[in-house]
Amino acid sequence: MLALLVAQNIAFYVIAAIMVLSAIRVVTTDNVLHAALWLVIVLAGVGAQFILLAAEFVAITQVLVYLGAIIVLFLFGIMLTRTQAGDARDADHRGPVKIAALVLGAALLGLMSYALLDGFRDSEFGDMVVQRTAEVSDSIFSTYLLPFEVLSVLLLAALIGAIVLARRD
């Protein structure tokens, strides 16, 4: 049991380090295409963390929806909005905005870390039970049936809206 715990911790920290470094590259790289490819690594890492949290169905959905669909949408968006002048030099705001954003992000991170370390200091996971997909689906189709139906209508509205907006007429 201890060996499993150590393995889980090692996996967590390795994946977390890769995710944080890739996320930093997403927001600092000058090349839009590279940012999308770094984002792939972050999203895959999030899926791996879901598996560590014994949430298999969410992990598989993450891979299917994010890596399979959303990244492709981003790549299409990059392809269709590429300017001739090259977008490397104007990916970021200049001057004081950058410093202000850095200060704001660091301050928020410090505040949240303090609150989390203070509030959940000794919260340890119990025995991690793998949540079966059947339980997730039972919950969606009983307790959360109404939000689920609303979500389907929202997806339909987004589909029609995106087609109407992007259509050439």
Partner: protein
């Protein structure tokens, strides 16, 4: 494993995403940073769900994470359509040039 590991990882990702939203000029890059923020929230939801379900019978956190994933997919679809429309009309997707309503 401690709950705090996942919560602080999510906080770090959230702040990186916030920095990206504030500092990026390219609208597609702003949308990517928003994806970082949404994913950090998902980590929080699933971690709290796993922490809360001591008897192994509570999947609410996962269900909410799934809902967030679906809403994020809809958001990216409409967002990229808007970006495409802006690019078609103005030949640029720099967010600071969209100041037609500035007084």
């Amino acid at each position: 494993m401690f709950l705090n590991q996942f919560l602080i990882l999510a906080a770090v990702l959230f702040c990186i995403g916030l920095y990206g939203v504030l500092v990026r000029r390219n609208a597609v890059l702003v949308l990517m940073s928003i994806e970082l923020i949404l994913n950090s929230v998902n980590i929080n939801l699933v971690a709290f769900g796993a922490w809360w379900s001591v008897d192994g019978a509570n999947v609410s956190g996962q269900v909410f994470a799934l809902f967030v994933i679906a809403v994020a997919a809809a958001e990216v679809g409409v967002g990229l359509a808007l970006v495409l429309l802006i690019f078609r009309n103005r030949k640029s997707i720099a967010v600071d040039e969209l100041d037609a309503l500035k007084g």
